[in-house]
C-alpha cells in the first residue's frame, strides 16, 4: 500500500489488493448498522413477512460465509443458533436473506426439539457483493439475527451463458 501513501500512481494490482484488504477488514468488524437500517425496501418487506413487527435482536445467531467468496454461483453458508433445543426452549425457524439478489429469500428452515442442534448448511447464490442476513425465531417468539458483508469475486474469463 506504500504506493498510495507516497502519492504515486496506483497500479490496477494495488487497487485490487487494497480492495481485498478492505473487504477482509469489513467482514472482521461487527456490523455497525442496525439490522433494518441499511436494507432496501424489498429486503425489509421480506424480513417483515417473517418477523411482523417484533423487534429483531442481534446475537445468538452465527452466520458463516467465507469472507471472500470464490464464485457467487455456489457459496457455502452455515447458520448456527445458540439454543438448548429442548421442548421448552428451542429454535423454531431459521431464515436467510440476501439483499441484492433478484429476490431476497434464500431458505426458510423449520426446526424443533427433535432437530437436536440448530445448525444448518447450504450452498447459495449471491449475484454480487452484498449483505447476507440470518434470522432465527425462538420458541418464546423472540427473533435473533446475524449479518455479514460478503465480497463476491468474479473470474476473469466468464463463459457465454445459455
Amino acid at each position: 500500500m506504500s504506493a498510495t501513501d507516497d502519492g504515486k500512481k496506483m497500479t490496477r494490482r494495488e487497487v485490487l489488493k487494497i480492495t481485498g484488504a478492505l473487504a477482509l477488514g469489513g467482514t472482521a468488524a461487527p456490523a455497525a448498522v442496525s439490522p433494518a437500517a441499511a436494507t432496501p425496501a424489498e429486503m425489509q418487506a421480506a424480513v417483515a413477512s417473517v418477523v411482523g413487527d417484533v423487534k429483531v435482536t442481534q446475537g445468538r445467531v452465527k452466520l458463516d460465509i467465507p469472507p471472500l467468496v470464490e464464485n457467487g454461483n455456489t457459496v457455502p453458508c452455515t447458520v448456527t443458533v445458540e439454543s438448548p433445543m429442548t421442548a421448552a426452549d428451542h429454535v423454531r425457524a431459521i431464515h436467510v436473506f440476501a439483499e441484492r439478489n433478484p429476490q431476497p429469500y434464500v431458505i426458510s428452515a423449520t426446526l424443533g426439539p427433535r432437530t437436536g442442534r440448530a445448525s444448518i448448511s447450504v450452498r447459495m447464490r449471491l449475484r454480487d457483493s452484498q449483505t447476507v442476513l440470518a434470522i432465527a425465531q425462538m420458541s418464546d417468539g423472540s427473533f435473533w439475527s446475524d449479518r455479514i458483508n460478503v465480497i463476491v469475486t468474479t473470474g476473469a474469463c466468464l463463459e457465454d451463458v445459455l
Binding site: N73, T74, V75, M85, A98, N101, P102, Q103, Y105, V106, I107, S108, A109, T110, L111, G112, P113, R114, T115, G116, R117, A118, S119, I120, S121, V122, R123, M124, R125, L126, V161, L162
Partner: protein, 106 residues
C-alpha cells in the same frame, strides 16, 4: 431420475446429535434468466425438503432460487431410536425424490 448422496452415520448413541448431509441432482433454474433470443427461462427449482425420522418430521426447509444447483442441505437430528430417516425433495414441474437411510441407535 434424480440422483442423491446422503451422508449419515449408520450407528449412533441414544440421545446424541447426528449430522445428516444431503446432495441432490437438480439444475435449480432460477426463473430470472433469459436466452440469447430474449425468452425467459421458466423457473424449475426444488421448493421443499422434509426429513422424517420413523415417520415423525424432524426438519423441514423451503428453498428459493437463491439455492445453488445440485442443492446441498445439512442439518442435525437427535438419535432417538433405531429406524429409518426419510428425506424427501419436491419442486416445480412435479419434481419428487425420496431417499431413506437406516440408523441403529444403541
Amino acid at each position: 431420475m434424480a440422483r442423491a448422496l446422503i451422508n449419515a452415520p449408520a450407528r449412533a448413541r441414544r440421545g446424541s446429535v447426528i449430522e445428516i448431509k444431503t446432495l441432490i441432482s437438480h439444475i435449480m433454474e432460477t426463473g430470472f434468466r433469459y436466452t440469447q433470443t430474449g425468452q425467459a427461462v421458466p423457473r424449475d427449482i426444488v421448493t421443499d425438503f422434509t426429513a422424517t425420522y420413523n415417520g415423525e418430521e424432524v426438519f423441514r426447509a423451503r428453498l428459493y432460487p437463491a439455492i445453488a444447483a445440485n442443492p446441498f442441505i445439512s442439518f442435525h437430528t437427535l438419535a432417538t431410536e433405531s429406524g429409518t430417516i426419510e428425506l424427501k425433495w419436491t419442486g416445480d414441474n412435479g419434481f419428487s425424490a425420496t431417499e431413506q437411510v437406516r440408523i441403529t441407535v444403541e
